[in-house]
């Protein structure tokens, strides 16, 4: 049985059902509903919700809770996420599993989410839902993935995802059991004390700093191999393939179906994991399609990942752009199937088609 919930609330409820017992956040549109929801729901299940005094303190609190082995979440939008970057970089070095929601305004925070603004060699696993249901499903998976790899996971959403009410079912995934959290700070009862640090090893008296830091990044290749998630359609005979992510990806899927009705051989690729990026899928697409178009609500960010995957084997057109209404929250006139369809037709390769 599904329930009608805004994307933000669906995400928050999924987190709780996945075992999240700590949340700290600072209110900021369009992520505020997660904080509101958690402030009511977490105490009901024996958890804690902190209305933190800043985003910097919010991620610090999440650090403390997650470092104790408790599933912990924070959420903000790009502006607040900017403030958390130092902690993000070092949470990855300390290999502390946390889940962070970046409920963006528009999609201008793609670089911020996938590259990060912090220092060093860290990466976040980034998942991008296109619906309230997918937000719930990916949130449940995010806690598991972050613990499996001992690496932070970010969920990148947007204003429409956060504020659109849809029917959601909560399906706790059946996943293999993870090893015990021997890294978690619990108090040293019955054992030697340990240190949980971004600066060096857990073992007391150890000076193997280089080994600890190398361990935090050596898993990146395995994550790239195992954690790619992508939604594709109509690729077999596609002359043009449109790439889009997040909620706008749903608009693109609809536009592609409309284009098909008009006889255009158009397909779509919707990356669900933004890092790792579905590089191989797009490399394969570039072998068969004549052109690729990228629709994203920013000045052109994901297009660089598409170009890296395609490596010049097909032309890559930007058909997105910055589009806001008067509120500045990233829902502008461009997010309209008629406009998207027009832009698809504009770049559709007509020469040499039989």
């Amino acid at each position: 049985m599904g329930v009608l919930l805004e994307g933000s609330c669906a995400l928050a409820e999924a987190a709780i059902q996945a075992g999240c017992r700590f949340y700290a956040g600072y209110p900021i549109t369009p992520s505020t509903e997660i904080l509101e929801y958690m402030s009511v729901r977490l105490p009901e299940v024996g958890g804690s919700c902190m209305n933190a005094e800043s985003e910097i303190e919010a991620i610090g609190m999440v650090w403390g809770a997650a470092g104790c082995g408790v599933r912990a979440l924070t959420a903000s939008t790009g502006q607040g996420i900017s403030l958390m970057q130092e902690s993000f970089a070092e949470l990855a070095n300390a290999q502390i599993p946390v889940v962070v929601v970046n409920m963006c305004r528009g999609q201008g925070d793609y670089f911020q989410s996938t590259r990060g603004g912090g220092h060093g060699d860290y990466r976040f696993i980034v998942l991008s839902p296109a619906s309230a249901q997918e937000a719930a499903d990916l949130t449940m998976q995010a806690f598991y993935i972050s613990e499996k790899w001992r690496n932070p996971v970010m969920i990148m959403g947007d204003f429409l995802l956060s504020h659109t009410s849809e029917i959601v079912e909560f399906r706790v995934p059946d996943q293999p059991e993870l090893p015990p959290k021997t890294w978690a700070i619990t108090g040293a009862k019955g054992r030697r004390g340990i240190t949980l640090s971004p600066l060096g090893p857990a073992e007391k008296l150890s000076t193997n700093v280089a080994g600890a830091l190398a361990h935090a990044t050596s898993k990146h290749a395995a994550i790239k191999a195992e954690e790619v998630r992508v939604d594709t359609g109509f690729l077999e005979d596609a002359v043009l393939v449109v790439v889009a992510f997040g909620f706008p990806g749903r608009f693109v899927k609809y536009a592609v179906r409309r284009a098909r009705e008009r006889g255009l051989r158009v397909g779509y690729v919707r990356p669900i994991s933004l890092w790792p990026f579905p590089t191989q899928v797009l490399a394969d697409v570039a072998q068969t399609a004549q052109a690729i178009a990228v629709f994203e609500l920013n000045a052109g960010q994901m297009i660089e990942d598409v170009q890296l995957a395609v490596l010049g084997r097909a032309p890559v057109h930007s058909i997105g752009g910055i589009s806001h209404d008067h509120s500045g929250f990233g829902v502008g006139p461009l997010l309209n199937v008629e406009h998207i369809l027009k832009r698809i037709e504009d770049v559709y390769p007509r020469k040499g088609l039989t």
Partner: protein, 255 residues
């Protein structure tokens, strides 16, 4: 022969040894540094109160960041300035743990002032300890928000002045004014009697946490002869002459 005599052989009574929670007697800090003394007292208190098994330390970034690897308790290493928030997260999910933070004046009073104020104001059930040597020790001798007027640092050449560099912050008095603080005391480690009082204050601070009375705070004035530009054995006299008049010792708020 005399040098081979153990206290046992000699009939002498052993009256002092390092606490078991200190894994190594040596440390990597400068000669004359006060922080290792402060660390030893903290560990002695934890041992005496039998809190080892449920203690969680949240450490900041400074010279004392070398300590977690020689402390036989669980330590979470925080970023510069962020220990109070991290400790908040720890205590909220592990309310039975005894949680304390270990920061320097640069870490707490310069970089992270907002964090400690909010944590104190909330009355988080944690104990915060600041090692105040009135200088950025680890960077090599630069002004912090606790550097006293007239003090020479590499960024206050000729001495800190009110006009050019502003006034130092008295963190203990500032925190004592907040409703959430249960216990605030300022101690020092420059004389045996001061060390004894420091231990008493730490006892009382941890006791306040155990009794659920709110945020407890101990500021410990520590010597930094290297970055005060004096000889190692001149640290205590420097502390007494230049820091103590600005930062008077004693219990500022009791419970």
């Amino acid at each position: 022969m005399t040098s081979e005599l153990t206290p046992h052989d000699s009939g002498l009574e052993k009256v002092f040894e390092k606490p078991d929670l200190l894994l190594k007697a040596e440390h990597s800090l400068c000669p004359g540094c006060g922080e290792p003394v402060a660390l030893r007292i903290i560990l002695e208190v934890l041992q005496e109160l039998e809190l080892r098994d449920r203690t969680i330390c949240v450490a900041g970034i400074g010279c004392y960041t070398a300590f977690p690897m020689i402390m036989d308790i669980d330590v979470m290493q925080a970023l510069h300035g962020r220990a109070p928030s991290v400790a908040t997260g720890v205590k909220r999910v592990r309310p039975d743990a005894v949680v304390f933070t270990m920061q320097g004046d640069g870490d707490m009073i310069s970089e992270g002032l907002q964090e400690v104020i909010h944590t104190a104001a909330r009355g988080e059930q944690v104990t915060a300890v600041v090692f105040n040597n009135a200088v950025f020790g680890e960077t090599g001798g630069h002004m912090t928000a606790a550097t006293v007027l007239g003090q020479h640092t590499k960024t206050t050449v000729g001495g800190r002045t009110r006009e050019r560099h502003g006034n130092p912050i008295k963190i203990s008095e500032l925190l004592a004014a907040l409703d959430g603080t249960a216990y605030v005391a300022r101690a020092a480690v420059h004389t045996p009697s001061a060390i004894k009082l420091t231990k008493q204050y730490l006892h009382d601070a941890f006791r306040a946490q155990l009794d659920g009375k709110g945020f407890s705070f101990v500021e410990i004035l520590t010597m930094c002869p290297t970055d005060w530009f004096v000889a190692p054995d001149q640290g205590p006299a420097f502390l007494d002459k230049h820091l103590k008049p600005i930062y008077p010792l004693g219990v500022i708020k009791g419970c």
